[in-house]
């Protein structure tokens, strides 16, 4: 069993009356890229801040690199890289100034050549102040700052928010390049399922503060399937197959989204329910995510009425 880098036990956080994170038990092994996926306001940022000790949990605890996150020692924090949400840096500092400032905190770890290469690659002017940079450039600077000290654990809070495809690709490359070094872990939250599918090993889905999925990407994609059955005569009203996320009825057919049921079970149920024929459709990650986190009474926003 590889070493657990990040572990939370029944982590709960209430903002006043509203519940942000509800009894989250999470374990992330070392050496993987973990995608934090969830709808807006599902508690991703709160969870990340709780892990980093920036927020005080209402109940439960979380451990980062073996040290309790409410009492993170400076040595542990030095081994963790954190990209804030929206790449918030000091606006009045120039890039050179920011680098000099950051380097002071990682005396031996800081990789000057690496940072210089990245800045030169992104062709960012060293003298320019952060407030004159565009969003993308600021993101690039914060990526360079996060990767330069070669952190053991990199936590990124929605790094690719509002960035164009090219910069997003650079972020993914940065993450992959980091993961290749020995014993590194990346935890990043994102909304773009394409990136998550491309890069992450494990996927963690949070829905309304509750941890709904914490498995490898492959397991997640294999588990969620959609079965489409067409019936000659009447459509059975009750569906007793287990693992049904949603089911939609049309006058002749039945559309089921299933989680974790394998093909024989579907076939056998289809025969028992007297379906004329059925076939199983493999969904892409985005649809899987939408179906998985959709509430029970999920329906399209605009229904097509038959005139």
């Amino acid at each position: 069993m590889t070493e657990i880098v990040l572990e939370t036990k029944a982590l709960t956080k209430y903002y006043g009356g509203t519940l942000a994170v509800d009894h989250m038990d999470l374990e992330i092994p070392r050496g993987c890229i973990c995608g934090f996926v969830g709808r807006n306001g599902a508690g991703k940022t709160t969870a990340i801040k709780l892990m980093l000790g920036l927020l005080n949990p209402t109940a439960g605890s979380s451990k980062l690199l073996g040290c309790d996150s409410s009492a993170l020692t400076p040595a542990i924090r030095q081994r963790i890289g954190y990209v804030t949400e929206g790449h918030r840096l000091f606006r009045w500092m120039s890039i050179g100034g920011l680098e000099k400032f950051q380097r002071a905190f990682f005396p031996k770890q800081w990789d000057d050549k690496f940072f210089a290469d990245m800045i030169e690659y992104f062709n960012l002017p060293k003298k320019k102040k952060i407030k004159h940079l565009s969003n993308g450039q600021r993101a690039q600077v914060s990526l360079a700052l996060a990767l330069a000290p070669n952190p053991e654990l990199l936590i990124m809070d929605d790094p690719t928010l509002g960035l164009d495809a090219a910069i997003r690709r650079q972020f993914l490359e940065g993450m992959i390049e980091l993961i290749m070094r020995q014993g590194r872990t990346v935890l990043f939250s994102s909304h773009i399922l394409g990136d998550v599918e491309r890069v992450s090993d494990r996927i963690v889905v949070i829905d309304k503060g509750v941890l709904r999925a914490n498995c490898s990407l492959e397991q997640f994609q294999k588990a969620i399937k959609k079965a489409i059955l067409s019936f000659t005569d009447s459509v059975p009203d009750q569906v007793d197959i287990d693992g049904v996320l949603h089911c939609r009825r049309s006058e002749k057919g039945l559309e089921l989204t299933l989680v974790g049921t394998d093909d024989e079970e579907i076939a056998e149920w289809a025969k028992s329910a007297g379906a004329e024929n059925y076939h199983i459709v493999q969904m892409n990650l985005e649809d899987q995510f939408i179906e998985f986190t959709a509430p029970a009474n999920y329906r399209r926003l605009f229904q097509w009425e038959e005139k």
């Binding site: 993987c32 490359e173 992959i176 399922l193 491309r198």
Partner: protein
């Protein structure tokens, strides 16, 4: 070695399956003859900007399918055709693909005969290409 792999993240097929298919198609088409060296896991990962584990998993599926063999330390090579093992799952995956092809053809209103003639012509094209490869070597 003009191996070109096109990844489509949003598609319904997981990435590692796409990688495996494209490599096997390249082998089938003869771009990768047996004995060639596939690119290293890290190099391919960096190039396609996907997770090295996915590439590694794709390579292990290919190895399971017998298309490639990995020699520890020196990388993975295309295996020669004799060694390829065919098992039932591959066969019925093939038949299923053929069914989709046929249904698509019938939907277009092509007669069965024309379909067979079309199929044979495509097959001959594949054959002479693999023959040319043989003469070059």
């Amino acid at each position: 070695m003009p191996l070109w792999i096109q990844i489509l993240p949003g598609s319904d097929e997981p990435i590692y399956i796409q990688v495996t298919e494209q490599i096997s198609k390249a082998i089938a088409r003869g771009e990768l003859s047996s004995g060639d060296k596939l690119p290293a896991v890290r190099k391919l990962a960096l190039e396609l900007v996907i997770n090295p584990n996915t590439v590694a998993r794709a390579y292990s599926r290919l190895e399971k399918a017998g298309l490639v063999t990995t020699k520890t330390g020196s990388g993975t090579f295309v295996a020669d055709p004799k060694l390829r093992k065919t098992d039932a799952t591959d066969i019925n995956m093939l038949t299923e693909r053929m069914d989709t092809l046929i249904t698509r053809g019938l939907n277009l209103g092509i007669e069965a005969q024309d379909l067979i003639r079309l199929f044979e012509s495509r097959l001959t094209k594949f054959n002479n290409k693999s023959n040319e490869r043989k003469e070059e070597k």
